[in-house]
């Protein structure tokens, strides 16, 4: 029998600077632990198979598709979600550029897009168009790519 049937399974996650203990099995995708057990719904479900990027979070500063990471793998790592990107109530420069360039359409992909871009700019503060093409592989069904590219350059120059 599956051990997860045997009662509670506690996991400790460090999310947005806080340590949170949640009742969740180790093999649960981090995405669902964040959305359902921690209750932060800014991180979105789009595919569940690491294809779309809607669920992108930072794990120790690296952009990760949280649907493809388990709670067990995430334990002990510093996780940042879209809700934790604005430090001390000040919007991250990527968020500011997103607002200034009016990037989102439906917005559903944009949490993941912003998290992916924030990670890119940390490693590569002035990315070229080619760098952007290589690093940003999130799906946006509304097709905001033109504004995304403009806003990335705007954030890089901010």
């Amino acid at each position: 029998m599956d051990w997860t049937n045997q009662g509670t399974a506690m996991a400790s996650l460090k999310i947005n600077g806080k340590t949170i203990t949640v009742d969740v099995e180790d093999d649960t995708p981090l995405l669902w632990a964040i959305r359902e057990n921690v209750g932060l719904t800014g991180t979105k479900y789009g595919c569940g198979i690491a294809q779309c990027g809607a669920c992108t979070v930072h794990m120790d500063g690296v952009a990760m598709r949280s649907c493809g990471v388990t709670v067990g793998e995430a334990a002990g790592k510093e996780i940042t979600t879209i809700e934790g990107l604005a430090a001390g109530g000040v919007l991250h420069k990527v968020q500011t550029a997103w607002i200034a360039n009016d990037v989102p359409q439906c917005g559903y992909c944009q949490s993941g897009m912003i998290m992916a871009v924030a990670a890119l700019l940390k490693d590569n503060p002035k990315p070229t168009d080619d760098d952007i093409n290589d690093a940003i592989t999130n799906i946006c069904r509304c097709g905001t790519f033109q504004q995304v590219r403009e806003a990335i350059h705007a954030a890089a120059n901010a």
Binding site: P29, G46, E83, Q146, R149
Partner: protein, 736 residues
């Protein structure tokens, strides 16, 4: 300045229901609409918003702090309609734009007030064009009442008062007051019977590329989509519907998963679905995947893409019956006697909407009330679905609209609402959130219809096009979705873009023309997919126009121009893109161009693409110039985004899309097999807006029609290869 967030997604006001005032499903444009203060149930003289602020009229609430709340009945799904409609109301209202927020009335409230907010339906690129007149009147009426209230207070004629940005001035004395101060009094004033709307050339808020009103929450993770809502005590449901459309549940073994973590209940949903309800959605889905289900798949299980293609191909035979959608002269005779003929057969596959947010709805059902929270493109249709599925009377049902993670036509359907109500009904008193997995969403879509088309053109000895026969074979959306809209069996929408007249008319005059549709309806359910029938009709017609130009030995642009003399608006947008792309000058080395035009949703659109091709099969789309004449442009910045977005949607479908059928079910299950364009594949999109005024066309959909044929025509120019079957991945053609 700190950016504003959108306040209050829905009103919270309680209203009594007048049952007679609602006709279920009657969500058609042009329904009679009451403007202003219309109180069907003789309530208080002043209608109040949830926080007690007075309604000046149904469209406008003004708070003492000068906040202007504009009510929006249509749905925001990314297309910018919420902001555009608010601009139109604010323009006539003459309020301070920086004080504007919006809110959605619920369908239940609308029903209770004789549909005061009109049609909720947000499809067919209708959000603005079919409500602009009455929302502008709503704003203008409120302005007149607010000015009158100030004039009454000052005991001066209203004609001596003017308003700017919500500040009313008595011109002779220079006295001023504000909307916030007179709103209470204005709400008691009899609305004027008639108001004059501004000439769009005098617009200062509408017509401008203002920023959207809903952006901030979409960048901080705060925006609540349907999939995000939380209610106290809520449980989560995952569902599987029979993978073969039309099939049924035979049996399922709930005992096998009863002990799995978090599982609360396993329920049948209608006769074709099974849902697991659990504490979390992850638990529900995990258990559902482990649940043994036996399906009664029925005869449809024998259907495949091959059997459908064969059936459709038979419809291309002129001996088979067909509906005539557009005709002049005698095309068949002219073709029979022509000096030269060109014939080609094209086909276009099923496509899934693949909205970024999978379908979902949350329902709380008790015997006293059925409340739904969901993203929907049609609040009234969702309301009607909940009414029917719950069996409760209208006064006990309501729908609270949440932000849509994409719509594209999919969320105009209500299958997911019905399912959620059916589940919640089996667990009264417990709120249930039903969320589809991506796999469920891919395989239970309302697909872009499948068609084939045989085109025959005929020339006289001087290479003049004398006849065109356009014979479609394939699926009708209306047959499945709105059969009452068929005309003696014919689906008039099947001719979008090639119709004789109306909002999607053909841009060419050919002396002998026959456009017909042999209807063939496979069991795969079709739906309105961004651009709808314009997509394939534009590909067929515009690629074939290039084939005809080639046969006539003429430049594709010049060849078209000769046929467009009687279609000046179609021609104007085509000329606009030709000029902007530099058609008359050679393209850069290794770059090839293609051009296309079409009319849809009342707007005239054209596109010109520049591409390069490596190894004959890897396409880099460098640039697409798009032109649109939608009559009026309410927000050019958002129109630009809709154009670029429509190209991503259309080109994703062209290159990567295509849903295939095997054993009666859709094969593609997720983005690994139904891929979507990424930023590296995005061309530079340049928009040329040429609004000519005098009519209101749509924006969200029409331009999708020109992206694919412009790219395909450029591909032919580059390679000499004409592609007639899609998606391109099946022809081993990819993005570079």
């Amino acid at each position: 300045m700190l950016p504003r967030t959108r306040k209050g997604a829905a009103m919270n006001q309680h209203v009594k229901i007048n049952r007679r005032s609602f006709v279920i499903g009657a969500a058609t444009a042009g329904a009679g609409l009451a403007i202003g203060l219309d109180l069907p149930f003789g309530g208080p003289a002043v209608v109040r918003a949830a926080d007690g602020s007075p309604e000046v009229n149904a469209w406008v609430v003004i708070k003492p702090d000068e906040t202007v709340v504009i009510r929006i009945a249509r749905s925001e799904m990314g297309q910018g309609t919420l902001t555009g409609l608010a601009q139109l109301v604010a323009e006539e209202l003459e309020c301070d734009w920086s004080k504007v927020t919006t809110e959605y009335p619920t369908p239940g409230q609308s029903v209770a007030r004789k549909r005061v907010w009109g049609d909720f339906s947000t499809g067919g690129s209708r959000g603005i064009r079919t409500s602009q007149d009455y929302v502008r009147k709503g704003g203008a009426t409120a302005r007149v009442m607010l000015i009158q209230a100030a004039a009454n207070e000052w005991k001066v004629p209203a004609t001596e008062c003017k308003v700017s940005a919500g500040v009313i001035t008595h011109t002779p004395t220079g006295r001023t007051t504000t909307y916030g101060k007179v709103a209470e009094a204005a709400a008691k004033i009899e609305p004027p019977a008639d108001v004059k709307l501004k000439d769009p050339k005098d617009w200062t808020i509408a017509g401008k590329g203002l920023k959207r009103l809903d952006t901030v929450d979409k960048t901080t993770g705060k925006m609540i989509y349907g999939a995000d809502i939380k209610l106290p005590g809520m449980l989560n449901a995952a569902i599987k519907d029979c993978p073969v459309f039309g099939g049924k549940v035979k049996s399922f073994d709930a005992a096998k998963i009863a002990n799995m973590k978090g599982v609360k209940k396993v329920v049948q949903v209608g006769d074709s679905g099974v849902a697991v309800v659990a504490d979390t959605w992850w638990h529900a889905k995990t258990a559902l995947d482990a649940l043994p289900i036996v399906w009664d798949e029925g005869d449809n299980a024998k259907v495949s893409s091959e059997t459908i293609a064969k059936w459709l191909a038979e419809g291309l035979d002129n001996a088979q019956p067909a509906y005539v959608g557009n005709q002049n002269g005698d095309a068949k005779a002219a073709i029979a006697g022509a000096a030269k003929k060109v014939e080609a057969v094209y086909s276009y596959p099923y496509q899934n909407h693949a909205t970024m947010e999978p379908m979902n709805a949350t329902v709380l059902y008790t015997s006293e009330k059925c409340e739904v929270w969901c993203g929907t493109q049609n609040g009234e249709a969702a309301f009607a679905a909940a009414l029917e599925a719950s069996g409760l009377p209208p006064e006990k049902v309501d729908v609270h609209k949440l932000m849509l993670g994409g719509g594209f036509g999919r969320r105009g359907m209500t299958d997911y609402v019905r399912q959620a109500v059916a589940i919640a009904k089996q667990m009264p008193g417990t709120p249930i959130k039903l969320l589809w997995s991506r796999e469920e969403d891919m395989q239970h879509g309302k697909y872009h219809p499948i068609t084939q088309c045989k085109l025959t053109g005929a020339f006289d000895a001087d290479n003049n096009l004398i006849a065109l026969h356009y014979r479609l074979s394939g699926q009708s959306i209306l047959f499945s979705v709105r059969p009452e809209a068929l005309q003696n069996g014919m689906d008039p929408a099947a001719f979008q873009g090639v119709a004789q007249s109306g909002e999607a008319s053909i841009g060419y005059s050919v002396p002998n023309l026959l456009v017909e549709h042999a209807m063939r309806n496979p069991h795969v359910p079709p739906g309105f997919w961004r651009g709808v029938n314009v997509n394939h009709n534009a590909i067929y017609m515009e690629c074939f126009m290039d084939e005809l130009a080639l046969a006539a030995g003429q430049d594709p642009l010049e060849f078209r121009r000769k046929l467009m003399g009687k279609h000046p608006k179609h021609l104007a947008v085509l000329n606009a893109v030709a000029e902007k792309i530099g058609w008359s000058t050679p393209a850069p080395k290794g770059v090839y161009r293609g051009i296309a035009q079409v009319m849809g949703y009342g707007s005239y659109v054209a596109g010109a693409a520049e591409i390069s091709v490596t190894d004959g099969s890897k396409i880099k789309v460098h640039r697409i110039v798009a032109s649109t004449d939608p009559g009026y442009v309410v927000n050019p910045a958002q129109v630009e985004r809709q154009i670029a977005g429509s190209f991503v949607y259309g080109l994703s479908a062209l290159f990567y899309g295509g849903c295939t059928v095997k054993d009666g079910r859709i094969e593609q299950a997720n983005f690994d097999t139904y891929n979507s364009m990424r930023i590296n594949e995005m061309p530079k999109v340049e928009s040329v807006m040429v609004p000519s005024g005098g009519f209101w066309g749509g924006v969200g959909e029409p331009t999708i029609g020109v992206a694919a044929p412009a790219v395909l025509n450029a591909y032919f120019a580059a390679t000499g290869k004409r592609i007639r079957s899609f998606p391109l991945r099946t022809q081993n053609i990819t993005f570079a």
